[in-house]
Subunit: 136 residues, 4 copies
Amino acid sequence: MNTFQTGYRVSYSDTDQMGFMHHSNYLKYYETARWELFRSIGIPYPEIEKDGIILPVIDASLKFIKPTYYDQKILINTKVKAQSGARIIFDYQAINEAGEIINEAHITVACVKKSTGKACIPSKKIKDALNELINK
Amino acid sequence: MNTFQTGYRVSYSDTDQMGFMHHSNYLKYYETARWELFRSIGIPYPEIEKDGIILPVIDASLKFIKPTYYDQKILINTKVKAQSGARIIFDYQAINEAGEIINEAHITVACVKKSTGKACIPSKKIKDALNELINK
Amino acid sequence: MNTFQTGYRVSYSDTDQMGFMHHSNYLKYYETARWELFRSIGIPYPEIEKDGIILPVIDASLKFIKPTYYDQKILINTKVKAQSGARIIFDYQAINEAGEIINEAHITVACVKKSTGKACIPSKKIKDALNELINK
Amino acid sequence: MNTFQTGYRVSYSDTDQMGFMHHSNYLKYYETARWELFRSIGIPYPEIEKDGIILPVIDASLKFIKPTYYDQKILINTKVKAQSGARIIFDYQAINEAGEIINEAHITVACVKKSTGKACIPSKKIKDALNELINK
Protein backbone atom coordinates (compact mmCIF):
# COMPACT_ATOMS: atom_id res chain seq x y z
CA MET A 1 0.00 0.00 0.00
CA ASN A 2 1.36 3.36 -1.07
CA THR A 3 0.99 5.07 2.30
CA PHE A 4 3.96 5.97 4.45
CA GLN A 5 3.43 6.52 8.14
CA THR A 6 5.46 8.74 10.45
CA GLY A 7 4.82 9.89 14.00
CA TYR A 8 5.19 13.23 15.67
CA ARG A 9 4.70 14.46 19.22
CA VAL A 10 3.41 18.05 19.42
CA SER A 11 6.03 20.20 21.16
CA TYR A 12 5.40 23.14 23.47
CA SER A 13 6.72 25.65 20.94
CA ASP A 14 4.19 24.32 18.39
CA THR A 15 1.31 25.63 20.48
CA ASP A 16 -0.19 29.11 20.52
CA GLN A 17 -2.33 30.82 23.13
CA MET A 18 -5.49 29.11 21.85
CA GLY A 19 -3.90 26.05 23.47
CA PHE A 20 -3.64 24.19 20.12
CA MET A 21 -0.82 23.52 17.71
CA HIS A 22 -0.47 26.63 15.52
CA HIS A 23 -1.86 25.83 12.07
CA SER A 24 1.34 26.82 10.23
CA ASN A 25 3.17 23.87 11.78
CA TYR A 26 1.32 21.29 9.69
CA LEU A 27 3.28 22.49 6.65
CA LYS A 28 6.53 21.86 8.53
CA TYR A 29 5.60 18.37 9.66
CA TYR A 30 4.22 17.39 6.27
CA GLU A 31 7.55 18.49 4.78
CA THR A 32 9.48 16.27 7.18
CA ALA A 33 7.06 13.41 6.47
CA ARG A 34 7.54 13.60 2.70
CA TRP A 35 11.33 13.52 2.93
CA GLU A 36 11.09 10.54 5.30
CA LEU A 37 8.98 8.84 2.62
CA PHE A 38 11.66 9.75 0.05
CA ARG A 39 14.38 8.32 2.30
CA SER A 40 12.39 5.07 2.63
CA ILE A 41 12.35 4.56 -1.16
CA GLY A 42 16.05 5.23 -1.63
CA ILE A 43 16.05 8.85 -2.78
CA PRO A 44 17.07 10.91 0.30
CA TYR A 45 16.26 14.56 -0.22
CA PRO A 46 19.75 15.84 0.80
CA GLU A 47 21.20 13.87 -2.15
CA ILE A 48 18.67 15.39 -4.54
CA GLU A 49 19.82 18.86 -3.44
CA LYS A 50 23.46 17.80 -3.86
CA ASP A 51 22.59 17.11 -7.52
CA GLY A 52 21.49 20.75 -7.88
CA ILE A 53 17.74 20.06 -7.71
CA ILE A 54 15.30 21.55 -5.20
CA LEU A 55 11.66 20.58 -4.66
CA PRO A 56 9.80 23.68 -3.42
CA VAL A 57 6.11 23.61 -2.58
CA ILE A 58 4.05 25.31 -5.29
CA ASP A 59 0.57 24.51 -4.06
CA ALA A 60 -0.93 23.50 -0.73
CA SER A 61 -4.45 23.06 0.53
CA LEU A 62 -5.23 22.06 4.08
CA LYS A 63 -8.38 21.23 6.03
CA PHE A 64 -8.06 21.77 9.78
CA ILE A 65 -10.67 19.35 11.11
CA LYS A 66 -9.86 19.14 14.81
CA PRO A 67 -7.38 20.94 17.06
CA THR A 68 -4.20 19.20 18.20
CA TYR A 69 -2.82 19.66 21.69
CA TYR A 70 0.59 19.86 23.30
CA ASP A 71 2.24 16.51 23.94
CA GLN A 72 -0.25 14.60 21.78
CA LYS A 73 1.20 11.98 19.47
CA ILE A 74 -0.03 12.36 15.92
CA LEU A 75 0.35 9.94 13.05
CA ILE A 76 0.98 11.37 9.59
CA ASN A 77 -0.01 9.29 6.57
CA THR A 78 1.78 10.46 3.41
CA LYS A 79 0.92 9.20 -0.05
CA VAL A 80 2.45 10.08 -3.41
CA LYS A 81 -0.64 10.66 -5.50
CA ALA A 82 0.87 11.53 -8.89
CA GLN A 83 4.03 12.53 -10.70
CA SER A 84 3.66 14.36 -13.96
CA GLY A 85 6.02 16.76 -15.71
CA ALA A 86 7.93 18.66 -13.05
CA ARG A 87 5.25 18.06 -10.40
CA ILE A 88 4.84 15.58 -7.59
CA ILE A 89 1.56 15.59 -5.66
CA PHE A 90 1.25 14.34 -2.07
CA ASP A 91 -1.86 13.50 -0.05
CA TYR A 92 -1.70 13.74 3.71
CA GLN A 93 -3.78 12.74 6.70
CA ALA A 94 -2.91 13.53 10.31
CA ILE A 95 -4.51 11.32 12.95
CA ASN A 96 -4.67 11.89 16.71
CA GLU A 97 -4.33 9.42 19.60
CA ALA A 98 -8.09 8.75 19.52
CA GLY A 99 -7.79 7.65 15.88
CA GLU A 100 -9.59 10.73 14.57
CA ILE A 101 -8.54 12.54 11.38
CA ILE A 102 -7.49 15.99 12.52
CA ASN A 103 -6.05 17.38 9.28
CA GLU A 104 -6.06 16.57 5.58
CA ALA A 105 -3.88 18.14 2.94
CA HIS A 106 -2.81 18.06 -0.69
CA ILE A 107 0.63 19.46 -1.40
CA THR A 108 2.34 19.83 -4.78
CA VAL A 109 6.08 20.28 -5.15
CA ALA A 110 7.92 21.12 -8.37
CA CYS A 111 11.29 19.85 -9.53
CA VAL A 112 13.45 22.96 -10.02
CA LYS A 113 17.09 23.38 -11.13
CA LYS A 114 18.66 25.41 -8.32
CA SER A 115 21.12 27.27 -10.58
CA THR A 116 18.46 28.56 -12.99
CA GLY A 117 15.25 28.52 -10.94
CA LYS A 118 13.56 26.73 -13.89
CA ALA A 119 11.20 23.77 -13.56
CA CYS A 120 12.66 20.47 -14.77
CA ILE A 121 11.77 16.80 -15.17
CA PRO A 122 12.90 14.64 -12.22
CA SER A 123 15.80 12.26 -12.86
CA LYS A 124 15.05 8.69 -14.04
CA LYS A 125 16.01 7.43 -10.57
CA ILE A 126 13.43 9.66 -8.86
CA LYS A 127 10.72 8.95 -11.45
CA ASP A 128 11.26 5.19 -11.23
CA ALA A 129 11.17 5.22 -7.42
CA LEU A 130 7.97 7.31 -7.38
CA ASN A 131 6.23 5.32 -10.09
CA GLU A 132 6.97 2.03 -8.39
CA LEU A 133 5.37 3.50 -5.27
CA ILE A 134 2.34 4.91 -7.08
CA ASN A 135 1.66 1.62 -8.83
CA LYS A 136 1.96 -0.51 -5.70
CA MET B 1 -12.38 49.32 -1.80
CA ASN B 2 -12.46 46.26 0.45
CA THR B 3 -8.71 45.51 0.35
CA PHE B 4 -6.48 46.10 3.32
CA GLN B 5 -2.77 46.46 2.74
CA THR B 6 0.03 45.62 5.17
CA GLY B 7 3.77 45.38 4.64
CA TYR B 8 6.30 42.86 5.83
CA ARG B 9 10.07 42.59 5.50
CA VAL B 10 11.30 38.98 5.22
CA SER B 11 13.53 38.22 8.23
CA TYR B 12 16.58 35.98 8.29
CA SER B 13 14.84 33.36 10.40
CA ASP B 14 12.07 33.15 7.76
CA THR B 15 14.50 31.70 5.23
CA ASP B 16 15.54 28.10 4.75
CA GLN B 17 18.59 26.64 3.01
CA MET B 18 16.94 26.98 -0.41
CA GLY B 19 17.59 30.68 0.16
CA PHE B 20 13.86 31.53 0.11
CA MET B 21 11.29 32.28 2.79
CA HIS B 22 10.06 28.92 4.11
CA HIS B 23 6.56 28.31 2.76
CA SER B 24 5.00 27.79 6.20
CA ASN B 25 5.61 31.46 7.06
CA TYR B 26 2.91 32.73 4.71
CA LEU B 27 0.29 31.34 7.09
CA LYS B 28 1.85 33.35 9.93
CA TYR B 29 1.97 36.61 8.00
CA TYR B 30 -1.53 36.18 6.60
CA GLU B 31 -2.72 35.69 10.19
CA THR B 32 -1.08 38.94 11.29
CA ALA B 33 -2.52 40.70 8.22
CA ARG B 34 -6.08 39.62 8.96
CA TRP B 35 -5.97 40.79 12.55
CA GLU B 36 -4.54 44.15 11.38
CA LEU B 37 -7.52 44.37 9.04
CA PHE B 38 -9.81 43.58 12.00
CA ARG B 39 -8.11 46.28 14.09
CA SER B 40 -8.67 48.78 11.26
CA ILE B 41 -12.44 48.19 11.30
CA GLY B 42 -12.80 48.50 15.07
CA ILE B 43 -12.87 44.85 16.13
CA PRO B 44 -9.37 44.11 17.49
CA TYR B 45 -8.79 40.37 17.76
CA PRO B 46 -7.54 40.47 21.39
CA GLU B 47 -10.94 41.86 22.42
CA ILE B 48 -12.75 39.09 20.54
CA GLU B 49 -10.75 36.53 22.54
CA LYS B 50 -11.54 38.41 25.76
CA ASP B 51 -15.21 37.80 24.96
CA GLY B 52 -14.52 34.05 24.94
CA ILE B 53 -14.46 33.67 21.15
CA ILE B 54 -11.58 32.30 19.06
CA LEU B 55 -11.28 32.32 15.27
CA PRO B 56 -9.16 29.29 14.29
CA VAL B 57 -8.31 28.55 10.66
CA ILE B 58 -10.38 25.65 9.33
CA ASP B 59 -9.35 25.76 5.68
CA ALA B 60 -6.42 27.19 3.76
CA SER B 61 -5.25 26.95 0.18
CA LEU B 62 -2.10 28.63 -1.05
CA LYS B 63 -0.40 29.03 -4.40
CA PHE B 64 3.34 29.67 -4.16
CA ILE B 65 3.99 31.53 -7.41
CA LYS B 66 7.46 32.98 -6.93
CA PRO B 67 10.08 32.64 -4.21
CA THR B 68 10.62 35.45 -1.69
CA TYR B 69 14.06 36.35 -0.46
CA TYR B 70 15.59 37.58 2.79
CA ASP B 71 15.21 41.31 3.40
CA GLN B 72 12.66 41.77 0.60
CA LYS B 73 9.69 43.94 1.42
CA ILE B 74 6.40 42.27 0.56
CA LEU B 75 2.96 43.81 0.44
CA ILE B 76 0.04 41.73 1.64
CA ASN B 77 -3.42 42.51 0.30
CA THR B 78 -6.16 41.08 2.51
CA LYS B 79 -9.82 41.02 1.56
CA VAL B 80 -12.83 39.74 3.47
CA LYS B 81 -14.60 37.75 0.79
CA ALA B 82 -17.62 36.45 2.67
CA GLN B 83 -19.16 35.92 6.09
CA SER B 84 -21.76 33.22 6.43
CA GLY B 85 -22.83 31.20 9.48
CA ALA B 86 -19.77 30.74 11.67
CA ARG B 87 -17.37 31.25 8.78
CA ILE B 88 -15.34 34.19 7.53
CA ILE B 89 -13.42 33.80 4.26
CA PHE B 90 -10.32 35.85 3.41
CA ASP B 91 -8.56 36.31 0.07
CA TYR B 92 -4.87 37.16 0.06
CA GLN B 93 -2.23 38.31 -2.39
CA ALA B 94 1.43 38.84 -1.54
CA ILE B 95 3.37 41.14 -3.84
CA ASN B 96 7.14 41.60 -4.05
CA GLU B 97 9.18 44.77 -4.59
CA ALA B 98 9.03 44.31 -8.37
CA GLY B 99 5.21 44.40 -8.18
CA GLU B 100 4.86 40.69 -8.97
CA ILE B 101 2.29 38.47 -7.26
CA ILE B 102 4.33 35.88 -5.37
CA ASN B 103 1.59 34.14 -3.43
CA GLU B 104 -2.19 33.85 -3.44
CA ALA B 105 -4.34 32.29 -0.75
CA HIS B 106 -7.86 31.67 0.46
CA ILE B 107 -8.23 31.14 4.19
CA THR B 108 -11.38 30.36 6.14
CA VAL B 109 -11.71 30.89 9.87
CA ALA B 110 -14.57 29.75 12.07
CA CYS B 111 -16.11 31.55 15.01
CA VAL B 112 -15.76 29.16 17.97
CA LYS B 113 -16.79 29.49 21.62
CA LYS B 114 -13.56 28.84 23.54
CA SER B 115 -15.26 27.22 26.54
CA THR B 116 -17.15 24.60 24.50
CA GLY B 117 -15.13 24.30 21.29
CA LYS B 118 -18.43 24.67 19.37
CA ALA B 119 -18.89 26.80 16.25
CA CYS B 120 -21.01 29.92 16.80
CA ILE B 121 -22.41 32.93 14.97
CA PRO B 122 -20.21 36.06 15.28
CA SER B 123 -21.57 38.88 17.45
CA LYS B 124 -23.67 41.62 15.81
CA LYS B 125 -20.72 44.00 16.18
CA ILE B 126 -18.40 41.69 14.22
CA LYS B 127 -21.03 40.87 11.59
CA ASP B 128 -21.88 44.52 11.04
CA ALA B 129 -18.23 45.54 10.72
CA LEU B 130 -17.54 42.73 8.24
CA ASN B 131 -20.65 43.32 6.18
CA GLU B 132 -19.96 47.02 5.89
CA LEU B 133 -16.52 46.08 4.56
CA ILE B 134 -17.78 43.40 2.16
CA ASN B 135 -20.37 45.76 0.70
CA LYS B 136 -17.96 48.66 0.20
CA MET C 1 24.13 8.96 35.98
CA ASN C 2 22.02 12.09 35.97
CA THR C 3 22.12 12.68 32.21
CA PHE C 4 19.11 12.11 30.03
CA GLN C 5 19.66 11.58 26.32
CA THR C 6 17.22 12.39 23.52
CA GLY C 7 17.71 12.48 19.76
CA TYR C 8 16.60 14.93 17.13
CA ARG C 9 16.93 15.04 13.36
CA VAL C 10 17.31 18.59 11.98
CA SER C 11 14.32 19.36 9.75
CA TYR C 12 14.32 21.49 6.61
CA SER C 13 12.33 24.27 8.26
CA ASP C 14 15.00 24.48 11.01
CA THR C 15 17.56 25.73 8.49
CA ASP C 16 18.18 29.26 7.30
CA GLN C 17 19.95 30.54 4.20
CA MET C 18 23.37 30.13 5.84
CA GLY C 19 22.62 26.43 5.33
CA PHE C 20 22.68 25.72 9.09
CA MET C 21 20.01 25.18 11.70
CA HIS C 22 18.83 28.63 12.82
CA HIS C 23 20.24 29.33 16.28
CA SER C 24 16.83 30.04 17.84
CA ASN C 25 15.84 26.39 17.39
CA TYR C 26 18.16 25.14 20.12
CA LEU C 27 15.86 26.72 22.69
CA LYS C 28 12.93 24.76 21.24
CA TYR C 29 14.73 21.43 21.22
CA TYR C 30 16.16 21.94 24.69
CA GLU C 31 12.61 22.61 25.90
CA THR C 32 11.38 19.35 24.39
CA ALA C 33 14.39 17.53 25.88
CA ARG C 34 13.74 18.79 29.40
CA TRP C 35 10.10 17.73 29.37
CA GLU C 36 11.12 14.29 28.06
CA LEU C 37 13.48 14.09 31.04
CA PHE C 38 10.57 15.08 33.31
CA ARG C 39 8.36 12.41 31.73
CA SER C 40 11.09 9.83 32.38
CA ILE C 41 11.10 10.55 36.13
CA GLY C 42 7.33 10.41 36.53
CA ILE C 43 6.41 14.11 36.46
CA PRO C 44 5.06 14.76 32.93
CA TYR C 45 4.93 18.48 32.21
CA PRO C 46 1.29 18.47 30.99
CA GLU C 47 0.23 17.26 34.45
CA ILE C 48 2.23 20.02 36.14
CA GLU C 49 0.31 22.57 34.04
CA LYS C 50 -2.97 20.84 34.93
CA ASP C 51 -2.11 21.59 38.58
CA GLY C 52 -1.94 25.30 37.72
CA ILE C 53 1.86 25.52 37.65
CA ILE C 54 3.98 26.69 34.70
CA LEU C 55 7.76 26.52 34.36
CA PRO C 56 8.83 29.42 32.12
CA VAL C 57 12.47 29.98 31.19
CA ILE C 58 13.95 32.90 33.14
CA ASP C 59 17.58 32.63 32.09
CA ALA C 60 19.39 31.00 29.20
CA SER C 61 22.97 31.06 27.99
CA LEU C 62 24.10 29.20 24.91
CA LYS C 63 27.43 28.60 23.21
CA PHE C 64 27.15 27.83 19.51
CA ILE C 65 30.32 25.83 18.91
CA LYS C 66 29.74 24.26 15.49
CA PRO C 67 26.99 24.62 12.88
CA THR C 68 24.38 21.88 12.48
CA TYR C 69 23.07 20.87 9.09
CA TYR C 70 19.77 19.72 7.62
CA ASP C 71 19.00 16.03 8.14
CA GLN C 72 21.81 15.56 10.70
CA LYS C 73 20.93 13.54 13.79
CA ILE C 74 21.88 15.31 16.97
CA LEU C 75 21.99 13.90 20.48
CA ILE C 76 20.90 16.13 23.33
CA ASN C 77 22.24 15.45 26.82
CA THR C 78 20.10 17.06 29.50
CA LYS C 79 21.10 17.23 33.14
CA VAL C 80 19.27 18.71 36.11
CA LYS C 81 22.05 20.65 37.80
CA ALA C 82 20.24 22.15 40.76
CA GLN C 83 16.87 22.88 42.31
CA SER C 84 16.64 25.69 44.79
CA GLY C 85 13.70 27.89 45.79
CA ALA C 86 11.49 28.31 42.75
CA ARG C 87 14.35 27.58 40.33
CA ILE C 88 15.46 24.52 38.42
CA ILE C 89 18.72 24.70 36.46
CA PHE C 90 19.45 22.50 33.45
CA ASP C 91 22.75 21.86 31.68
CA TYR C 92 22.70 20.84 28.03
CA GLN C 93 25.08 19.49 25.44
CA ALA C 94 24.16 18.85 21.81
CA ILE C 95 26.37 16.38 19.94
CA ASN C 96 26.54 15.77 16.20
CA GLU C 97 26.92 12.50 14.24
CA ALA C 98 30.72 12.83 14.37
CA GLY C 99 30.53 12.89 18.18
CA GLU C 100 31.50 16.57 18.38
CA ILE C 101 29.91 18.96 20.89
CA ILE C 102 28.10 21.54 18.75
CA ASN C 103 26.25 23.47 21.44
CA GLU C 104 26.29 23.89 25.20
CA ALA C 105 23.70 25.64 27.28
CA HIS C 106 22.54 26.44 30.80
CA ILE C 107 18.84 27.13 31.17
CA THR C 108 16.96 28.12 34.32
CA VAL C 109 13.20 27.76 34.67
CA ALA C 110 11.09 29.09 37.52
CA CYS C 111 8.10 27.47 39.15
CA VAL C 112 5.22 29.96 38.74
CA LYS C 113 1.56 29.82 39.82
CA LYS C 114 -0.34 30.41 36.58
CA SER C 115 -3.27 32.22 38.23
CA THR C 116 -1.11 34.81 39.99
CA GLY C 117 2.10 34.92 37.93
CA LYS C 118 4.04 34.60 41.21
CA ALA C 119 7.06 32.37 41.73
CA CYS C 120 6.41 29.36 43.99
CA ILE C 121 8.15 26.34 45.51
CA PRO C 122 7.68 23.15 43.44
CA SER C 123 5.43 20.47 44.93
CA LYS C 124 6.97 17.75 47.12
CA LYS C 125 6.49 15.27 44.27
CA ILE C 126 8.52 17.40 41.84
CA LYS C 127 11.21 18.22 44.42
CA ASP C 128 11.61 14.58 45.41
CA ALA C 129 11.85 13.42 41.79
CA LEU C 130 14.43 16.09 40.95
CA ASN C 131 16.50 15.56 44.10
CA GLU C 132 16.63 11.82 43.54
CA LEU C 133 17.96 12.57 40.06
CA ILE C 134 20.48 15.19 41.20
CA ASN C 135 21.88 12.87 43.89
CA LYS C 136 22.23 9.86 41.59
CA MET D 1 24.12 57.79 21.72
CA ASN D 2 25.06 54.33 20.48
CA THR D 3 21.63 52.75 20.92
CA PHE D 4 19.44 51.80 18.01
CA GLN D 5 15.73 51.41 18.59
CA THR D 6 13.32 49.20 16.65
CA GLY D 7 9.74 48.24 17.36
CA TYR D 8 7.94 44.92 17.14
CA ARG D 9 4.35 43.87 17.72
CA VAL D 10 4.01 40.34 19.15
CA SER D 11 2.17 38.17 16.63
CA TYR D 12 -0.24 35.35 17.41
CA SER D 13 2.16 32.70 16.16
CA ASP D 14 4.80 34.01 18.61
CA THR D 15 2.68 32.89 21.55
CA ASP D 16 2.53 29.48 23.21
CA GLN D 17 -0.13 27.96 25.43
CA MET D 18 1.26 29.75 28.51
CA GLY D 19 -0.27 32.80 26.81
CA PHE D 20 3.14 34.51 26.45
CA MET D 21 5.55 34.97 23.56
CA HIS D 22 7.62 31.78 23.33
CA HIS D 23 11.11 32.50 24.67
CA SER D 24 12.88 31.31 21.48
CA ASN D 25 11.43 34.26 19.56
CA TYR D 26 13.65 36.82 21.28
CA LEU D 27 16.62 35.44 19.36
CA LYS D 28 14.72 36.01 16.10
CA TYR D 29 13.74 39.57 16.90
CA TYR D 30 17.18 40.47 18.21
CA GLU D 31 18.59 39.18 14.92
CA THR D 32 16.27 41.41 12.92
CA ALA D 33 17.11 44.35 15.22
CA ARG D 34 20.87 44.00 14.73
CA TRP D 35 20.61 43.91 10.93
CA GLU D 36 18.37 47.01 11.06
CA LEU D 37 21.11 48.68 13.09
CA PHE D 38 23.63 47.58 10.44
CA ARG D 39 21.41 48.98 7.68
CA SER D 40 21.23 52.30 9.54
CA ILE D 41 25.03 52.67 9.54
CA GLY D 42 25.44 51.84 5.86
CA ILE D 43 26.45 48.18 5.99
CA PRO D 44 23.29 46.22 5.09
CA TYR D 45 23.66 42.55 6.03
CA PRO D 46 22.56 41.20 2.60
CA GLU D 47 25.56 42.98 1.05
CA ILE D 48 27.92 41.48 3.63
CA GLU D 49 26.68 38.00 2.62
CA LYS D 50 27.12 38.91 -1.06
CA ASP D 51 30.80 39.49 -0.24
CA GLY D 52 31.03 35.89 1.00
CA ILE D 53 30.91 36.73 4.71
CA ILE D 54 28.37 35.43 7.24
CA LEU D 55 27.91 36.56 10.84
CA PRO D 56 26.57 33.59 12.81
CA VAL D 57 25.76 33.82 16.52
CA ILE D 58 28.43 32.11 18.62
CA ASP D 59 27.26 33.10 22.08
CA ALA D 60 23.98 34.29 23.55
CA SER D 61 22.77 34.91 27.07
CA LEU D 62 19.26 36.08 27.82
CA LYS D 63 17.39 37.11 30.95
CA PHE D 64 13.62 36.71 30.69
CA ILE D 65 12.41 39.26 33.22
CA LYS D 66 8.71 39.60 32.43
CA PRO D 67 6.36 37.79 30.05
CA THR D 68 5.27 39.43 26.79
CA TYR D 69 1.76 39.07 25.47
CA TYR D 70 0.10 38.80 22.07
CA ASP D 71 -0.42 42.12 20.32
CA GLN D 72 1.84 44.03 22.71
CA LYS D 73 4.23 46.48 21.12
CA ILE D 74 7.77 46.03 22.33
CA LEU D 75 10.74 48.32 21.83
CA ILE D 76 14.13 46.75 21.24
CA ASN D 77 17.24 48.73 22.13
CA THR D 78 20.33 47.38 20.37
CA LYS D 79 23.84 48.53 21.13
CA VAL D 80 27.15 47.47 19.62
CA LYS D 81 29.25 46.92 22.72
CA ALA D 82 32.56 45.89 21.22
CA GLN D 83 34.33 44.68 18.10
CA SER D 84 37.51 42.74 18.52
CA GLY D 85 39.15 40.20 16.23
CA ALA D 86 36.39 38.33 14.43
CA ARG D 87 33.82 39.13 17.10
CA ILE D 88 31.09 41.71 17.42
CA ILE D 89 29.19 41.92 20.72
CA PHE D 90 25.66 43.32 21.01
CA ASP D 91 23.71 44.35 24.09
CA TYR D 92 19.92 44.25 23.98
CA GLN D 93 17.01 45.43 26.03
CA ALA D 94 13.37 44.76 25.22
CA ILE D 95 10.83 47.13 26.75
CA ASN D 96 7.06 46.71 26.97
CA GLU D 97 4.26 49.26 26.55
CA ALA D 98 4.39 50.09 30.27
CA GLY D 99 8.06 51.03 29.91
CA GLU D 100 9.27 47.97 31.82
CA ILE D 101 12.38 46.01 30.80
CA ILE D 102 11.10 42.55 29.91
CA ASN D 103 14.26 40.99 28.50
CA GLU D 104 17.99 41.66 28.45
CA ALA D 105 20.54 39.90 26.31
CA HIS D 106 24.18 39.81 25.21
CA ILE D 107 24.79 38.24 21.83
CA THR D 108 28.14 37.68 20.12
CA VAL D 109 28.45 37.05 16.40
CA ALA D 110 31.62 36.02 14.56
CA CYS D 111 32.79 37.12 11.15
CA VAL D 112 33.15 33.91 9.09
CA LYS D 113 34.22 33.32 5.48
CA LYS D 114 31.34 31.33 4.01
CA SER D 115 33.49 29.30 1.60
CA THR D 116 35.87 28.01 4.29
CA GLY D 117 33.85 28.26 7.51
CA LYS D 118 36.86 29.99 9.09
CA ALA D 119 36.66 33.06 11.35
CA CYS D 120 37.99 36.25 9.77
CA ILE D 121 38.55 39.95 10.51
CA PRO D 122 35.67 42.17 9.30
CA SER D 123 36.39 44.40 6.32
CA LYS D 124 37.70 47.94 6.90
CA LYS D 125 34.27 49.29 5.92
CA ILE D 126 32.51 47.23 8.60
CA LYS D 127 35.14 47.95 11.26
CA ASP D 128 35.06 51.68 10.59
CA ALA D 129 31.26 51.81 10.70
CA LEU D 130 31.17 49.86 13.97
CA ASN D 131 33.98 51.82 15.61
CA GLU D 132 32.37 55.11 14.74
CA LEU D 133 29.22 53.83 16.45
CA ILE D 134 31.00 52.44 19.52
CA ASN D 135 32.88 55.71 20.06
CA LYS D 136 29.82 57.91 19.70
